[in-house]
């Protein structure tokens, strides 16, 4: 038996949590339940413009797919689909992937495709922005729907680093040239991490503007309505700051959900040396 559960359903939070714990890519920007008391995601003032149409595909009392999806209207009244200013995206229960005979059945794929098609027709969306994480090397069934309707795809590269490996094993897996760049950073940069535990202390110091500019940069770069400062304060993000010869020259922003960490963005000052700063910071 397959079914669709939407955010208005009382069972949604529990199933969403279960899916979030079993999604191999675990992007913290997507897998939080908006509006929940424990949600680290605070939305900017435009929150009310977005209607959360996220949904889950359930099979045999377990989530198989989840879709983070909102609709919003532009100034001209046109409806657009995405996710709070980012692309909409799907999540896969890796348990279902690992045991395809259990519940990863064609009906789940069909239901997912039918529902997204129905939503597009219901809201008459002018545009759909969608991110396919290609979870476990599997193209999302929603991608199939969008491609058939003429969507334009752009390929993006991402890096997965297994942090459960020992530092020695991680180091051994890095090519010699990259390792040299990292070692330069370790020798020459003084790194400081700003997170929920010490962010309050940083406020009011001379570095405050630097922190704020980093958060503003993230918001501008991704043009979404997620509050990165709130993520930082609630313990789901951290900022790494690099000092070089006593001056702050770079910062890098990461978000995480205590299992998976995503590097979002970095910036350097005009005074930063022309050296590979980011390698050492990551």
């Amino acid at each position: 038996m397959h079914s669709i559960i939407e955010t208005s359903d009382s069972a949604f939070p529990a199933f969403w949590k279960e899916l979030a714990e079993n999604d191999p890519l675990q992007n913290p920007l997507y897998l939080q339940q908006q509006g929940a008391a424990s949600s680290p995601v605070d939305l900017a003032t435009t929150e009310s413009e977005f209607e959360d149409r996220s949904f889950l595909i359930i099979a045999r009392d377990a989530p198989v797919f989840g879709c983070s999806l909102t609709t919003h209207k532009d100034d001209r009244g046109g409806t657009h689909m995405g996710y709070f200013g980012m692309e909409a995206s799907t999540h896969v229960n890796c348990t279902a992937i690992a045991n395809p005979s259990n519940n990863f059945e064609p009906q789940s794929i069909c239901l997912l495709q039918e529902h997204i098609t129905r939503l597009m027709e219901e809201v008459k969306s002018h545009s759909v922005d969608y991110l396919d994480p290609v979870s476990c090397g599997v193209m999302s069934p929603i991608t199939q729907v969008l491609l058939e309707r003429g969507a334009t795809p752009t390929v993006q590269k991402a890096q997965l680093i297994d942090l459960s490996l020992s530092e020695h094993a991680l180091d051994r897996n890095i090519s010699k040239s990259y390792r040299g760049l990292i070692h330069w950073g370790r020798r020459n940069l003084q790194l400081k991490t700003l997170s929920a535990s010490n962010i309050e202390l940083s406020r009011g110091e001379s570095t405050d503007g630097f922190l704020q500019s980093a958060l503003n940069l993230a918001s501008q770069r991704f043009e979404n309505c997620l509050g990165y400062e709130a993520l930082l304060r609630k313990g789901n993000a951290f900022l790494v700051r690099a000092n070089y010869q006593g001056d702050a020259i770079a910062n890098a922003l990461f978000v995480h959900n205590h299992k998976t960490c995503h590097y979002l963005t970095a910036s350097t000052t005009a005074d930063a040396p022309h050296r590979p700063i980011l390698h050492g910071m990551i």
Binding site: D129, D132, L146, T152
Partner: protein, 65 residues
């Protein structure tokens, strides 16, 4: 029409119990010099022109682009 084959991936048969997957090198997961695994993801943008046209129904010609 763009479709999966052009992107180096397999189109999957909904009637088949087999999992969909990629065979094209564009989507393979390879070791990378940074010590991790290179992973490819897709961003898609769909503009539904039919709905754009619908939105202008009822507007005077002067209001149309």
């Amino acid at each position: 029409m763009l479709h999966g084959k052009r992107l180096g991936c397999d189109r999957f048969d909904l009637a088949s119990p087999a999992l969909p997957g990629f065979s094209g090198s564009e989507f393979s997961i390879d070791a990378d010099g940074f010590g991790g695994m290179s992973h490819t993801r897709l961003k898609l943008r769909l503009i539904q022109l039919g709905f754009f046209a619908e939105a202008f129904v009822g507007l005077p010609d002067s209001a149309r682009l």
